[in-house]
Structure formats: structure tokens, C-alpha cells
Symmetry: D2
Subunit: 251 residues, 4 copies
């Protein structure tokens, strides 16, 4: 058995920090590095890329809407042609920095509101996929099972990889419970780790109604921006190791 | 005889335009394309790169301080490590877009206040050169004769290329008359074209005191952001052609 | 008979200009001045305010989503509490500048996507109205007839003023034909002026199907950002004057 | 004896936080609130103003260069006319928000690089003072003893107030030891508190060479952006109280 562990990193901006990037880089196998549009100044990006390369952690371009003030968490009605160019710009910038540090971007993970939007909006999904295809058709897109991105990417010859969230509640139909609902986010490290193990070994998760829901995921996302992020990630990593699951990047 | 003609292009942002990019791309041999820090949104960058590729015009990354409100024309006390990362980010972004459009960035031209600053500030010059070396040591930096950049770049194994300004007044010592001084910028197309021809053929320019000053330039810069920019560029191009000078990118 | 003529002004940013502010200020009676979030740097705002004060033109705060790259034309899912604070910030900034120039903000006109959004979204409309009420309950909000803003503003004790668009096509039900539809924007000065006159005198407009639609407007908006904006505005002003309509700000 | 205690507050941006604003507001008598140019989104500004009003803490507009990425810590060659408009914009925005929350801006404290620059650059100092005078000649400017601002402000009829830094090392001539020098910043709460007491009661500070240097300050600044900021501020406040010094805003 084998699984990837990914987290959002490099999400500071200027003087402001978010999460403990270096501690998380010791735990994950894939780093979704902010590209400057929702977070991530060039120096932070360079340092995070360099640290990921040092530790053999795979680098993903965490592309976003252009929205520093809203941290990319607000849906925007961006024209597809413009969105495509914006994704291309971000992807190229971070890949170039990663290469200068001796690595490279090996996948793309849209961030925040863009991530959610392209699960259901074929037009914006197409814009993102087109940017990836224009830049390097060999880069997979990390997304949710059931997302609109899968079919659109397949049509363009771009691969997709699915992920699950060990610290998020699931509905009986396999969707995430919206972040603002009570109980949407789990905080107990032992429970989160146990869910990660079941995701990786049994390919299921216990939904909010107690039912077992199938989860098809090659990667598990752990959040990097909460105070207890490092604790949770370590619990997940240790839990998976104890269960005999090999942690390995999907790229 | 051979000379390159370069101009600043892609310097719009969002709804705002600056200069007639497409008309200028029919006249120049090298396009300094804005990278998003002083101007240039991703869609404008992509369109300008695509148009440059179509016309066989060489693409340069016009890297800048991060200063949209000041159009990169205000000197900033940026920490060298941060400046280096900022230049790397911009260079990578535009090169990636250019490659997606079938071309590539083949040189770097710092913009505005950064251009002037690194002519005399070894610390910031070193930061820019280091970014170029980190990204691709094969990319030359376009700069003024006498700039501090030359020596620093040579030390890092980065090439430099010199340029002259056909529409700017020169002092007897070969420096540019500061932009705010009266007569600093020439507007008569015939005169500007004649100066360009003498720069390319006799390697001299007439200074403000009437003396002949040597000018060693492989490229001539024409401004793209003035109302009469296209007129001037066409006059220079036609004048050079009539004088038997071949227009050819330096890359 | 009496009508107000309003236009969007001060919509440059840094080096970039949009429209001929000074020429339009000689024609309109109310100036919707950009507040820095979709356009309008502080110096442009100050100069436009000063020029409006000189000419006795009423000043409105043209508040917007925070979106320079998209010129405020892209809908954003902004949290109402944050939107309220953003509108308050913009309104206060421009009012303070206007007062320093000897005038003051006398109304609020939301811009672009925010203008359209609050016609139908009570939550964002409420956020905008709350900001106005918090700042100065005496400032009216300029908006479309039929907008959701009217009822919400009335509940808060904030006045609203309706406007019509002389150069936009109307549907038989009195709505604007969406900007991207063919024929949505009229360009013939004589036709636009004639429509303005009928709006002001007969309170009707001819819809795209030839029917007469009632239009209840205390102000007519002329666009400031098109190349022929000054021509159109002058035709409207002259047409209204010739028809005996008095041009007068609604504030 | 009477002294004011001021700190920089509201210096988050969007998702990012800096310092514990609410804890510091319980300790200081004057809050320098970020205005959006180096930090401070509108919602953060509004919340900080509301909390300051609740606690009876005086509100100052902490105006800055436009530089989010550099937190306003990088000197910029801004044209004085533009700088003046930028300061006016920020001051008006925060004063308007403060008034909507039931308070008002009662002084101006330039931030970071602008603070340091106008201590020695009469041109930029004049731009800042002019903005204050244009907005409200009754607002004092908080600055260093010996700053160029004093004379320029006096000429314009604008008051100045001097401050000292309890946690910064002083040279024998009474200047601050540059932040990057070793020992420039003191971290021991007891020592910092003792220095504050001596500043308030004996009007002197012990310089790095052990000599006693006169310090003429109506306010003492404590830093808000360090991890131990609250501890230091509490030690200073308690130390001053124990020494019989009354803490009171200067406005």
C-alpha cells in the first residue's frame, strides 16, 4: 500500500507567515507551494522550493485567483482566457524558481475558491487545464474525486490525481461537509490519523451519519495553516507508517 | 553593419493600455516585455509574447521593482536577496509564457528605476545578475555602456549587451541627460532617425554641446509609451534601412 | 424639467489614463470618482476632486470590489462584513480628499460588478447600505430603478436616486440589454442625445422591440471610458439644453 | 508625571495576523493603526478602531509608503506631490472608519521607512506635513526628537509630539542604534521597563557606551509585532505605574 501526503506551503506574504513550513516539509511527500496570487512572495517561494528540494519533497504549483486580500478563498467571475493566462503565469513562475533551486514543479493543485469552482464549472476548469496543457502536458492536476476537472483534463491529455481530506467530515454521498458547518473540520490527531489509515488501506471514510463511504484517493491532504497542523500531520504520518502504508509522492 | 532595435512592450495592466504594441512589434527586432511587477497582466503578456513569436521578434524579460502604482520608476531599497528572488520570479513567469506560445525569453532588460539603479549600485546589480545566472546563465543582460552591471555579470559568466537611445540627449561625457532636464527627449522623427544611423554606422552621437561622443551599442532603444512612438520607431527603422544597416536581434 | 448628468471619472491608475476627465467635468453635473479599489490612485483622486470642486460638479464615491486587475468588473463572493468595511474605507478616503480640496462626497455610486450584484443580492446590497449609513446616513445611493438596493436602503433610512443610460439598449421589460449582446451599446451621438431628451422629458425609452418603456430617472449616466465619450456627453448635454431641460445635480 | 504609551496595531492583512492587537489595546494609551498601504485591510482597521474606541485608547493614523510586500520598510523615491496625496488618502480612510465606530483619528504617525526618511528628508517631510495640514491642521505628528519634521510642521502650523523607544539601544548622541546592529533591540522586560521609567521621570536613557543621554519624549513606543510584545508592554506599563507615572494619551 502506498499513499501521498500533501499540504499547502509557502503561504506567507512579505512579513506575514502562515504555518510552520519547515516542520511540515519534514512530514509530507508533496508540497503545494503558493504562487504569489493568493499568497507567496518570491523569496518565500524560493526558500520553500529550496527546502522541498533538500528533503526530496515533490513540488506542486498551488495556482489561485488573483486575490491576496481574500487569500484566494472568494469565487471570482474571471474570464476564462484571462484565468488561463493567470494560471500559466503562476505555474511558470514557480516552476522556474523550483528549477533554479535544483527541482521542478511536478503537479498542479488549484487553491481555495478556484479549487472548488472548477469541480463544478467546466468553463473555468477548462481554462485551468488548458494552461497546464500549454505549459507542460505531463503535469497532473490534483483534485477531488468527482470533480469536473477529470473529464476535461482527460480530453486534453492531462492526467488527474485524486485526494482525500483526513481532517474533514464527509457526507453520505462522499462530498465534503462545507467548511462553515459545525463539525466540518476534525481536530483530534488520533481520530484524523485513524481516518487517514482507513482511507489508505480500506479506501473508505466514515460519513457524518456513520455510514462507510468509498474514497478513491492517491493522496491525502493535511492542512498547513492551522495552529495544530504539524501535530496532525505527524499523527497522520506516524499512523500510516504503523499501518504499513508507504508514504510516497504520486509524481 | 548590423543593429538591433528594442522597445518596451506589454506595458498595459488590466483595462489600461500603454502604447501600440502590435504596431511596434512590426518595427522592432527585440521586445522587452513587462513581467507583471511594474506593468503587464498575464493575458497581456501572453498576447504580446504570441505576437512577438508570430513576427520573429526576440523576447526579453523586462524585470522591475514591484511597483504598479509607480510604474517601476521609483527607486526602492529592496534587500538584495529579495530582489534576486523577485527578478527570478518575473523572468521565469514570462519565459514560461513565451515557451507556451512557441518562443522563449532570450535576454533580460531591467526596467525603469531598477535599470538606472544597477548601473551604479553593485549590490542590486549583483542581485539581478544572480537571478539571471540562477535561471539561465546563457541569457544576456541589456544595459547601458559604463554600467556597473558589465563587470559583475562578467564575473558570474553572464553576458551583457549595450544599448543606446536615439531619442535621448547625451552629455559630452556620454551619459544620458536626465529625463527631467529641458531637451532631454528628442521628438523630431527625422533627427532621431539620423542619430540612430550615426550610432549604428559611426558609433557616435552628437552631445548637447555639439561634440561627437563615442557610443558603443549593439542595440538601439526606441520608446514605446509616447504618443508618437510608432512614428519615431518607423522613422528609425526606415532611416537605418536606407543607410544600409541590417536590423537584427542580438540574440 | 430637470435632470442630472453623471459619468465615471478618475479611473486612471498610476501612469495609466482612462478617458478625458477634464473635458467630461465640463459637461456633467455629477462625477462618480474612483476610490482606489478598481481604479484611482490618490493623486488622480485628488486632482479629479479639485477639478470637480472648481467646476461646481457634485462628487460621488464610486466604490468597488477590490480588483485593480479586473477593473471591478468581476463579481466576487466577498463576505458582507468585509465588503461593508471595504466600502466604508473607500468612501471615507475619497470624502476626506474631497473635503481637503474644498468639496465633499455628496452621494455613493457602486461600480461595475458590485453595482450589478447589489441590484439582485440583498446580502451584498445590505453591506453597501450599512457602510453608507455608518459613514453618513445623509448620502444617497445612485442605482438602477428596480434594484434591490431601494428597499434595503429605505429600511436603513438611506435615500436612493435612480439613473438611466442614454447609450444603452433596453429590453421591453425595462432592463438593460447585457453589455456583451450585439447592439447593447449605442454610439451615434444624435441618437443617444435624442434618447436622453425623451428620458428626461417623457420619462420613456424605446426598447429593442420598438416599444416605449417607462424610465424613472433623476440622473442620466454617460460613459466616460470610451474614445467617443466626450462627443457623446456633449451631444447629450446640448440636446437636453435645446429641449429646455435644466442640467442640475440631484444632491 | 505623565507619559503616553503607543504601539503599532492593526498590522495584519487579510488572513495574516501580526501581534496580539486586543491584548496590546488593554495596555497602551495610543494606537497607531495601519492604514492599508503597508498593512491593514479595511475590516481589520474597523475592528481595531472599534476596540480602541471601546477602551478609550487614542487612535493615530499610521501612514506609510504603498508597499505591502515590504511592509513599508523600504525607502521609496516617491514624488512629493504623490506622497502627499497618498498620506491624505490613508489618513482620511482611517479617520472615516474611526468616526463610523464612534471615535476619530487624533494624531498621525508615519510608519517604517517613511518615518525614518522624513526625519532627514525635508522634501518628503513637507509632503507628509502638507497632507496633515490639508486634512486637519489640528492633528499632531508623532516623531523622533531631532527630526526634520518638527521645523517643517511648525512652519505649517502643525504640532509635533516626540517619542522615545524603551526597547531600542541609543547612541551617545541620542540617535537610535540601527535595527540591524547587534544589541539594537532589547528583550528583557525588566530592563525595558526600567528604561521607560527613567525616560518618563529623569528624561534620560543610558546609551550603549554607558553615558546618560537626554531624552525629551511625551510618548514611549513599544513594539507590537514581536512575539513578546505583550509581555514587554505590560512590564513597561506596570513599571511606570509603580514609579507613579500617569499613563495618558497626548491628544
Amino acid at each position: 500500500m502506498m499513499i501521498d501526503l500533501n499540504a499547502d506551503l509557502g503561504e506567507g506574504f512579505g512579513i506575514w507567515r502562515l504555518g510552520d513550513d519547515m516542520a511540515l516539509l519534514d512530514l509530507v511527500t508533496s508540497a503545494n507551494i503558493a504562487c504569489g496570487f493568493h499568497a507567496g512572495d518570491p523569496l518565500t517561494i524560493r526558500r520553500t522550493c529550496a527546502a522541498a528540494v533538500d528533503r526530496g519533497v515533490a513540488i506542486g504549483a498551488q495556482v489561485s485567483y488573483r486575490d491576496l486580500a481574500g487569500f484566494g478563498r472568494r469565487e471570482m467571475e474571471v474570464d476564462p482566457e484571462e484565468l488561463c493566462a493567470e494560471v500559466l503565469y503562476q505555474l511558470a513562475a514557480v516552476d522556474g524558481i523550483a528549477r533554479a533551486m535544483g527541482g521542478r514543479v511536478s503537479y498542479v493543485k488549484p487553491h481555495g475558491a478556484l479549487y472548488n469552482r472548477i469541480c463544478r464549472d467546466p468553463e473555468q476548469a477548462d481554462a485551468v487545464v488548458e494552461a497546464v496543457a500549454d505549459y507542460d502536458r505531463g503535469l497532473p492536476v490534483l483534485t477531488l474525486p468527482g470533480s469536473a476537472v477529470h473529464e476535461i483534463a482527460a480530453r486534453e491529455g492531462v492526467a488527474t490525481v485524486t485526494e482525500a481530506f483526513a481532517d474533514r467530515a464527509y457526507t453520505p454521498s462522499g462530498a465534503l461537509v462545507p467548511r462553515r458547518s459545525p463539525g466540518a473540520v476534525l481536530h483530534d490527531p488520533a481520530e484524523v490519523a485513524a481516518r487517514a489509515v482507513r482511507m489508505a488501506t480500506a479506501h473508505t471514510v466514515t460519513a457524518v451519519d456513520g455510514s462507510q463511504v468509498p474514497v478513491d484517493a492517491r493522496s491525502i491532504c493535511v492542512h498547513g495553516d492551522t495552529p495544530d497542523a504539524v501535530l496532525l500531520a505527524r499523527a497522520v504520518r506516524d499512523g500510516l507508517a504503523a499501518a504499513g502504508v508507504t508514504l510516497k509522492a504520486f509524481t
